[in-house]
């Protein structure tokens, strides 16, 4: 399962190596030292050296996303991300992308529940170009009315494409909104359509004023760079920006769930789909520090590869599932959620799939995971530590994400050690404590006919044109 992220410009998420939930998500990196700086205006700079290729990635992370929003203004952070390319006094609309492109750069931006981030990957000498442009739009964005009116339509098309016409995404959106009541984890990153339709340019200007300041940003640079030179460059470009008063978001803690919740989503589709989620702790709110790591191991035992239990027992084995997955992201800022999803095979019902997934949880509560399974999970983490060094983007992404949700980047060094300490008994304990019916929400996609009354297609051209 991947983080739900919305990007300004469409690329496949796989290409981005987006943080996937489970165990392969992160690990310590000793190869390149990490250097941390803070400017006088509060901007945080983190630099990691990777001299394998003459390139660098520069990312600017802001602490704002859909979990900072409330009813009526949903989708605002993401629309603002789009508007960040619509010009300042110094660099009018379109100039940002044109200049980056002319410098051989690749750029994009993404919004999630807990962050909004902008990045450029460029040949290493082009870092000043990135800093100049990013510093300018951190404080000087214009947000012209006419640009907003066009861009919000683009975002509505994005919503139609990603969610409204995608029955599984639609189900997931309603599932999240059902599971969470008082916590903003219920808010879809893309925003509800009605909120997009009623969004005003003034809302965006307020939102920009509220969150876009050096003391609410983290700049991450990874690549063939010299940390002190990067620091000097950051001081030059970002240093003159004025800090602002940032009011941290209120806790908006989720109310206690008092029993299982269940919804059915009817949408035109070919296949049923099931998604189940338990409220669980995350690193930031865990009362017992090891619990999130134990949940992470549990997720890895269920779905950490083709040999994990869901693949081997439900897709193969009983063949109840055509596909099945489990995921947990302990690095969320709010609203920990342990998720299981799947599509039943043709001979089985959604109900049978649900029972099979619940039986998997029951097994976790009753029987210790084997040493071989634990060893496999740990071996995968050790190798992932090395593999992730193959991508400067991914290295920067991990640092920026952890910093922005309020966990420091040093977690990258701690992670595998903490996972190593997890015992089979701890896995049983978290399964018993959290993976229980009263904390569960279940959503089922009930497929409606795609088009029962009309012929499937009509020709308006004659024959094949060969």
């Amino acid at each position: 399962m991947t983080r739900r992220m919305y990007m300004r410009h469409f690329v496949t998420l796989a290409g981005l190596a987006v943080a996937s939930v489970s165990l392969l998500v992160s690990a310590a990196q000793k190869n390149g030292a990490v250097h941390e700086y803070q400017l006088d205006n509060g901007l945080k700079l983190i630099v990691k050296e990777d001299h394998r290729a003459p390139i660098m990635v520069s990312q600017v992370w802001y602490k704002v996303g859909s979990s900072y929003e409330h009813d009526g203004i949903t989708g605002l952070s993401h629309v603002l991300e789009h508007m960040m390319f619509k010009g300042t006094e110094k660099y009018p609309s379109g100039e940002f992308s044109r200049i980056i492109s002319e410098n051989g750069g690749r750029e994009n931006a993404f919004t999630s529940s807990d962050y909004t981030a902008y990045f450029q990957t460029m040949e290493k000498s082009r870092l000043p170009v990135s800093f100049e442009l990013e510093a300018d739009r951190m404080r000087n964005l214009l947000i012209p009315d006419e640009e907003f009116l066009k861009e919000v339509k683009v975002v509505m098309e994005e919503r139609r494409m990603r969610t409204d016409d995608n029955p599984q995404a639609l189900t997931y959106e309603q599932f999240k909104a059902t599971a969470f009541v008082s916590s903003p984890s219920r808010i879809p990153v893309i925003g509800w359509m009605d909120d997009l339709e009623n969004m005003e340019v003034a809302d965006l200007r307020d939102w920009y004023q509220k969150w876009y300041a050096p003391n609410n940003a983290t700049v991450v640079v990874v690549g063939d760079v010299d940390p002190d030179e990067v620091h000097a460059l950051a001081k030059k470009h970002f240093g003159p920006l004025k800090a602002d008063k940032i009011s941290p978001p209120k806790p908006r803690k989720e109310i206690k769930q008092l029993g299982q919740k269940r919804i059915v989503v009817k949408a035109p589709a070919e296949l049923p789909f099931l998604t189940m989620g338990y409220k669980v702790p995350i690193l930031l709110d865990a009362e017992t520090a090891w619990e999130p790591y134990a949940l992470d191991v549990l997720a890895g035992v269920l779905d950490g590869g083709n040999s994990a239990r869901l693949s081997s027992q439900l897709v193969r084995g009983s063949e109840i599932a055509a596909s099945a997955g489990a995921g947990y992201d302990m690095y969320d800022r709010l609203g920990g959620f342990f998720i299981m999803q799947g599509t039943p095979s043709a001979e089985h019902s959604v109900k049978e799939l649900e029972e099979a997934l619940l039986a998997q949880i029951k097994q976790m509560q009753e029987k210790p995971v084997s040493q071989a399974e634990l060893d496999r999970v740990k071996a995968q983490i050790r190798s992932a530590k090395v593999y992730e060094l193959d991508s400067v983007f991914y290295q920067a992404m991990q640092i920026g994400m952890l910093e922005t949700v309020g966990i420091e980047w040093q977690e990258l060094d701690r992670y595998s050690g903490e996972i190593d300490k997890v015992t089979p008994d701890q896995v049983i304990q978290v399964a018993k404590k959290y993976l229980v019916a009263d904390k569960l929400t279940v959503a089922e996609l009930d497929p409606q006919p795609i088009d029962p009354n009309k012929p499937p297609s009509r020709d308006s051209g004659a024959g094949h044109g060969h």
Binding site: S101, L271, S307, R316, S323, A346, A379, R382, S460, G461
Partner: protein, 435 residues
């Protein structure tokens, strides 16, 4: 190779040179049974990537769409007497990963492992079994057949997938490229285990294979690894060349009703093949037309100026035989006619007047300046090696990449588009709700 890059480049040079030369040094050889190998030595990280590619894609499906993909999917479901669980547990306990896939031109397997011999050697032994001795167990065959039927239905609920499959069918008619890689209900139901075995025996052979290796190995070690891996594969025969693609004789249009809020639009015709002498002018011209994300003309007209679509683009997909040249977008149903008009007009303007000098300069700067990112990781390099090997591109393809781009002229772009893109003979596929 990246260690060489470092010693060659002076920071000052980098500042002024956009035609940065940083291509990895490719070694190549042939195994005694006829497999072609491309290797890049890279010791910065203690890891190995291997990509084995066969001319065994859906273009070899014959009458049974899905045959190539299913053969590929079955390889790691039982091999050399080990079952799917044993293979998966073996790989993953070593921290290694095995993947694979199949599209129209090729079927491939990917392998990644740490270079620590204690991990690498047993992982390679498993990979070797999967590659050389797949068992195609009956039970696993039946399960994967059902799962592919489910995937076909899954694609049938996504307007973008429906459009893509219909588009290839209209573009290629009775050419093998019309085959749907994932198959359809009828073809998948008719598949037999014996067909898969026959397909495997014919196409998964040394003379039909390219092996790309990048990582922490010396040349000597790489030769040994490759020999162990494929040395025992039957030599077999290289797959025969695919039939030529006949150009479209006239325009064609297909509208498929789907209960979606958006219409997905694909417009296009067969375009270029890998190694096509027009490839670079077309690539660069298309970069300006619709290939450079939000700074392209199509995106500017459709998205930036009118807010009609989140994603509007054009691209050439070079394949062994001419792959599609495609223009595409999605927009809400009642805007689709307008969006199609804008898309077509943008293409027509480009064909009539060509790119401006300014656009060419900007495109050249981006493409050449972005070259270091194309080869900045082992995973990117191994994909390039597989592509260069499979399509028999010159080994200096990457070295020549920037000089070739630098040399493309405005006249070449205009001329290539005039000869290769005919807007009056294109297929249009629309999948969406009522307008």
């Amino acid at each position: 190779m990246r260690t060489i890059i470092k010693s060659l480049l002076l920071p000052l040079l980098v500042l002024v040179s956009s035609a940065l030369q940083a291509a990895p040094k490719i070694q190549n050889w042939e195994t005694s049974n006829g497999a072609r190998v491309l290797f890049v030595e890279a010791h910065d990280l203690p890891m190995i990537d291997i990509r084995v590619v066969f001319d065994a894609g859906a273009a070899r499906d014959g009458k049974t769409a899905g045959l190539a993909k299913m053969t590929s999917a079955l390889l790691d479901q039982g091999a050399g007497g080990l079952n799917a669980d044993e293979i998966a547990i073996g790989m993953e306990s070593l921290g290694a990963s095995l993947g694979g896939g199949s599209e129209r031109d090729m079927g491939w397997l990917t392998f990644r492992s740490l270079s620590d011999r204690k991990l690498l050697n047993p992982a390679l032994a498993l990979f070797k079994k999967v590659l050389n001795q797949p068992d195609f167990p009956e039970e696993d065959f039946k399960r994967e057949q059902k799962r592919m039927l489910i995937s076909a239905r899954y694609r049938g609920q996504k307007p973008g997938s429906i459009a893509g499959e219909k588009y290839y069918q209209l573009l290629y008619g009775d050419h093998p490229y019309a085959s749907i890689p994932g198959g359809d209900e009828k073809s998948l139901s008719s598949l037999t285990r014996e067909q898969l075995q026959t397909f495997y025996k014919q196409y998964y052979v040394a003379k039909n294979a390219v092996i790309a290796v990048v990582g922490d190995l010396t040349t000597k070690q790489a030769k040994k690894v490759v020999n162990d891996l494929v040395g025992k594969l039957p030599a077999g025969e290289q797959a025969p060349g695919l039939p030529e693609v006949s150009p479209l004789k006239k325009a064609d249009k297909k509208i498929i009703t789907h209960p979606s809020t958006q219409s997905h639009v694909l417009i296009g015709a067969p375009g270029v093949y890998r190694g096509d002498p027009d490839y670079f002018p077309l690539y660069m011209g298309n970069f300006i037309l619709g290939g450079s994300g939000l700074v392209s003309r199509i995106s500017d007209e459709v998205r930036e100026k009118r807010g009609l679509s989140y994603s509007a683009y054009s691209y050439f997909s070079p394949m062994a035989k001419p792959g599609p040249f495609t223009l595409g977008l999605q927009t809400k149903n009642d805007k689709r006619e307008e969006a199609i008009k804008v898309l077509r007009k943008t293409l027509q303007d480009f064909l009539d007047k060509g790119p401006t000098d300014k656009e060419i300069t900007a495109a050249r700067k981006n493409i050449t300046g972005g070259f270091p990112m194309r080869v900045s990781s082992n995973s990117k390099i191994v994909e390039y090696l597989a592509m260069i090997g499979f399509y028999k591109l010159p080994l200096d393809y990457l070295d020549k990449f920037n000089p070739t781009i630098e040399a493309v002229t405005k006249e070449q772009i205009i001329d290539a588009f005039k000869r290769r893109v005919d807007p009056d003979k294109m297929v249009t596929v629309i999948v969406g709700g009522d307008t």
